[in-house]
Symmetry: D2
Subunit: 383 residues, 4 copies
Amino acid sequence: MDLADCYKKVRQRTEQICSPLQTEDYVVQPVVDVSPPKWHIGHVTWFFETFVLKPYFMGYQEFNANYNYVFNSYYETVGNRVIRTDRGNLSRPTVADIYQYRAYVDEAMAKFLHQEPSAEVKELLILGFNHEEQHQELLLTDIKYILGHNPLFPAYDAAYVSPKAEEAISPGFIKMDEGVYEIGHTGDSFCFDNELNRHKVYLNTYELSPNLVTNAQYLEFINSGGYHDFRHWHAEGWDWVNINKVEAPLYWHSIDGEWQNYTYHGLQPLSLKEPVCHISYFEAYAYASWKGLRLPTEFEWEAAATKFSWGKSWEWTESSYLPYPGFAKAPGAIGEYNGKFMVNQKVLRGASEVTSPGHSRITYRNFFQTHLRWQFTGIRLAR
Amino acid sequence: MDLADCYKKVRQRTEQICSPLQTEDYVVQPVVDVSPPKWHIGHVTWFFETFVLKPYFMGYQEFNANYNYVFNSYYETVGNRVIRTDRGNLSRPTVADIYQYRAYVDEAMAKFLHQEPSAEVKELLILGFNHEEQHQELLLTDIKYILGHNPLFPAYDAAYVSPKAEEAISPGFIKMDEGVYEIGHTGDSFCFDNELNRHKVYLNTYELSPNLVTNAQYLEFINSGGYHDFRHWHAEGWDWVNINKVEAPLYWHSIDGEWQNYTYHGLQPLSLKEPVCHISYFEAYAYASWKGLRLPTEFEWEAAATKFSWGKSWEWTESSYLPYPGFAKAPGAIGEYNGKFMVNQKVLRGASEVTSPGHSRITYRNFFQTHLRWQFTGIRLAR
Amino acid sequence: MDLADCYKKVRQRTEQICSPLQTEDYVVQPVVDVSPPKWHIGHVTWFFETFVLKPYFMGYQEFNANYNYVFNSYYETVGNRVIRTDRGNLSRPTVADIYQYRAYVDEAMAKFLHQEPSAEVKELLILGFNHEEQHQELLLTDIKYILGHNPLFPAYDAAYVSPKAEEAISPGFIKMDEGVYEIGHTGDSFCFDNELNRHKVYLNTYELSPNLVTNAQYLEFINSGGYHDFRHWHAEGWDWVNINKVEAPLYWHSIDGEWQNYTYHGLQPLSLKEPVCHISYFEAYAYASWKGLRLPTEFEWEAAATKFSWGKSWEWTESSYLPYPGFAKAPGAIGEYNGKFMVNQKVLRGASEVTSPGHSRITYRNFFQTHLRWQFTGIRLAR
Amino acid sequence: MDLADCYKKVRQRTEQICSPLQTEDYVVQPVVDVSPPKWHIGHVTWFFETFVLKPYFMGYQEFNANYNYVFNSYYETVGNRVIRTDRGNLSRPTVADIYQYRAYVDEAMAKFLHQEPSAEVKELLILGFNHEEQHQELLLTDIKYILGHNPLFPAYDAAYVSPKAEEAISPGFIKMDEGVYEIGHTGDSFCFDNELNRHKVYLNTYELSPNLVTNAQYLEFINSGGYHDFRHWHAEGWDWVNINKVEAPLYWHSIDGEWQNYTYHGLQPLSLKEPVCHISYFEAYAYASWKGLRLPTEFEWEAAATKFSWGKSWEWTESSYLPYPGFAKAPGAIGEYNGKFMVNQKVLRGASEVTSPGHSRITYRNFFQTHLRWQFTGIRLAR
């Protein structure tokens, strides 16, 4: 597929994700970590306008100079911006305005891509596609929160196909030998800067479960009082549980003594076979501790990832999000992409049911703060 | 005009106020004091459904049982409700849903009003009309904040007619004699419970300005350093100024050395002749102190109100919002209307450019906390 | 008694109040409203040094220039100061240092008072005495909080004589006639600026209880669920109760099913006959509302105060703390004494068991914010 | 030296550290991370009473049952405790009370140690000695903050001997070969549980500076605008700098254009040759980024530590504080020692000028949150 087609396909998928939404659903921001869908669809457009069209497409006329202020996410290099907590306070530009903006930029991009771009621009385009795919995942995640936080619990889309719960692959653990392993991306295909450089790590003998922890298994933890026993928690996690009165994963509601789970189809009885999801790192750690086991490191995960199936939910690892040896930020605004978040976050590995097809890979590193739960986060055990 | 016509007229005016809005403008809540327009139009409808239709219209079918949770403002008697800070986080019910709710309730009300209601219900209806008029004022005030807070500074309505700035009525002060005055509502016409009982107060000799303080006069205060001189401020006001870095009224923007003022027509050069507006009580007090004068009490204001023209902006008084002698709350939910706010608020008298026609009167008591500025609040001086 | 003797007597009483303290008790500040005793004894000394010795005693050498920074309370005119929340974070100057400071200033004052001071200085001296008496009351109040907040509940002083609980004076209410009353200080004796000007107010017929509400009566309110019934509370009070999980007056502890009350003698079984004390305005209002009665205004209180005995605890009134007609601040730092606090506070009338002898009077106006409880605050009912 | 002598020596050193203090210095807690010295000296005593005397010394009478509540630091297993922010609000027990408590426990310990303890108790004793040494370091660190935060900037002790600033050891970097290294404690001597298990790590070729960054070098960073250039900072660090208006290391004061540094001798002109100290991880990272270099990992540090001199200040590493392979918590309260803090903290390696002699070692792992500065924290560069 050529770049113009790739561009079109990525852009269409974003709009398809939004097609079941009401205009109002595009606007709100119920918590700081969630962005309004209209912000996402404007921001990914702004990315192509700012990093491709404005510097490389001679004679391009900016759509609206104020949009830089509105749709810049966190690039200090590119100037001031709406503060993150204010994204849900903006009724303008309207959804229709932003779709016009998309159409305007898409038209310019189509013209721009009539000619084969330089290698430098190609790299930016592929980064832009991957960037938009990341926001597709965020869009679906944020939409779930926006609707799931609503007291009417509306469904997102009756036609949404949830992944099927599978039988556990095997009851045992996968054994891995002690030794030196190579970690990080290799080859010519796209990867983010945080997957480089490929380097060696020494791993002790370890074992990984081929299966994710299920809702049924997590219920045992709840029913045995896991949320009320400090011994399983980090001190910071224990504070978090008590201040926020956490008693179950996000989206679980105990209604008339039955656990209901908010899904893209609205509230549904909890499916016991499915992987537990929407838990914080603190909860993942506490569950593992209660089982007398632990979470894998990201290196253990990557070294073994060909031996189990993954992609149902992002899996918390014990690893902190840190640069690999020889990691270097790109110069300019693009260099703000990953490096500046490498503190006080945990690495997640895998992918989730809402990850764009083909977007993840074995060396992919996602990362979140330890208290966050709105992502599709799950648990794989190690020992 | 009969009650059915009154009902229709009040309801139409609410919808007319919203007619220039985009769907997105109905949804957001940029600060806690502002409610999303869609919440207002749902809440005033809920008021008629809850206090008139459900108890008095035999066989009425509630539109949606969840709406009680969504549109209850603060009536503890009527059950749980969305917390105030969450109003702007709800994308559903949509604007279209709420207009359907309005139509449904309006139709039921039309049927209900075919028959002459009882005296008890009449009283509730008139309270409902006045309640909706209060929300009309709030709607316009909140819409101004929603659009004026937006970095694009969109106009509300090109057709909106702003009140004309007038020449000062007279340069002198109105003198009032010492003695006993009667304060509070009298007669059979509607008033809120907080305007009762009519009672006597003793006033010393005092003088009131017939004019409101203008933007030109307030600019002198700014230019002479009034915001940086602690001597004019209450201790609590001085903290407020410094923590919030307040330097001018809300909606004033200094752009390239010129003062611009956000209005319903968007940003406009500051009109010097108009009354200063959108200031907190702390600022009103500081301005008066800087002039060597003071704010009037609400009793001084009411006793003199026939002698000057008012209605441009709500005027801060020195009076705290307290019950009049013999004040009694109504039983049940309606009794939560006024009494429970009678602490740590200041009384405002008059009316503003966005007050519904005929809604205010000389005995009317509005009230806000001392730091609030999003209302059309102004200054009249006394000595 | 001449001024030098008055000075000595006031100063000695302050030191006598502190005599049962351990050095450590002088240092801590468990909540922002409480000041460390060492700060009080330094501050009242600084008052005489700053406002009397430095401007009026030729050749006086300041004890330590840094003390202005440490012991200034809130006088913006006099320069920067330690922020209030930091008072309990200062280990230096030590208690011994501050007693040296006191001795140094006392010696200078003794010399200064060898000569008859001017009328202007006399006025400052008398203000200084009254100021120190106010801090004596605060010292005792703050010491109670410091020790009562300690998990060991140490007694302040075994020799402390608590006031005796008295039988109720009379079961009925005192009736007062409608009409014009004069309010405010009159005569040549000392008063604070907030007691002026004497002026007329018009009062409707009203009745006042001759007795304060007792612990026994307040227990009925608790036992009937008063803290859990929103109908008796201001909206702001209801939030305060719920956020702070308030269930009883400050210093009440339910231990093995019995109410214990922290006193200057340590924890004691609750004395049912004594006036209820250490309650917020919110609680006083809710109690009155629960009884179907109300709190008096400060004017009702003053007009009737000769008809009942008072002085056990400061009594919350319904009146907000506002300037009397013609109130004027003194020029300079002394003018910061009262006026700048006249917002969002309620007036208390009377005096408490720890008020310095002769310090209060019928026209005296104390004032606190509506949520505060560490003062000896009580309830007198009106209707 | 036998255990009884060791005990005596450790305990004496604690008291010696406190000997220059005034009583008031023992009491205050200016920020949550600092504990009052009297709390430290009580807590280390409570440790021996709780974990040694009560379980192992037949017939031991607890000194005061309330002290468990007062001096428990964070052991959930051992029951409730004073919340951390309240430590500075307690005037009782007094300093004299706590020294009595120390004497009482020391006497019991002396008796208890007449007999050779079991191996299990020996281990606890050695843990207790190391625990007290940790608190000796904290005592000196906290005392510096308590006095350095005081506007009078009192000296701690004129007799305190500061370490001498040395010439840089060598201008070059130490080169380390790629390969597998062993990390973690080995042998029979004491170590904390977080230093185990000894395990292999793979390190790429790297270079370490033999010298710590000096004040002179750090000044260049300040003078070149390092605190105002977002490119060098983590996103979270950049927020921290801006919210807290950080412009220099803790204890640096720019007075009349000259940098002064608060030391144990009071304010002193900044010594340019000394290692920069009292900086957060965020600042250490930003400095390294500005130099185009980086911080070492804890593994790089340990592998090279025999090749340079260390012990002037704790050195921030890039490593997050995580368990080593096979790390296991001890059962019971002692198991709360380290593991529950292994999240959102960075590892520091080395020791500081106030570390007790012989307390640190090459495998020692200290840890703090990324924003903390009151410890003696410094920078060693890697590449």
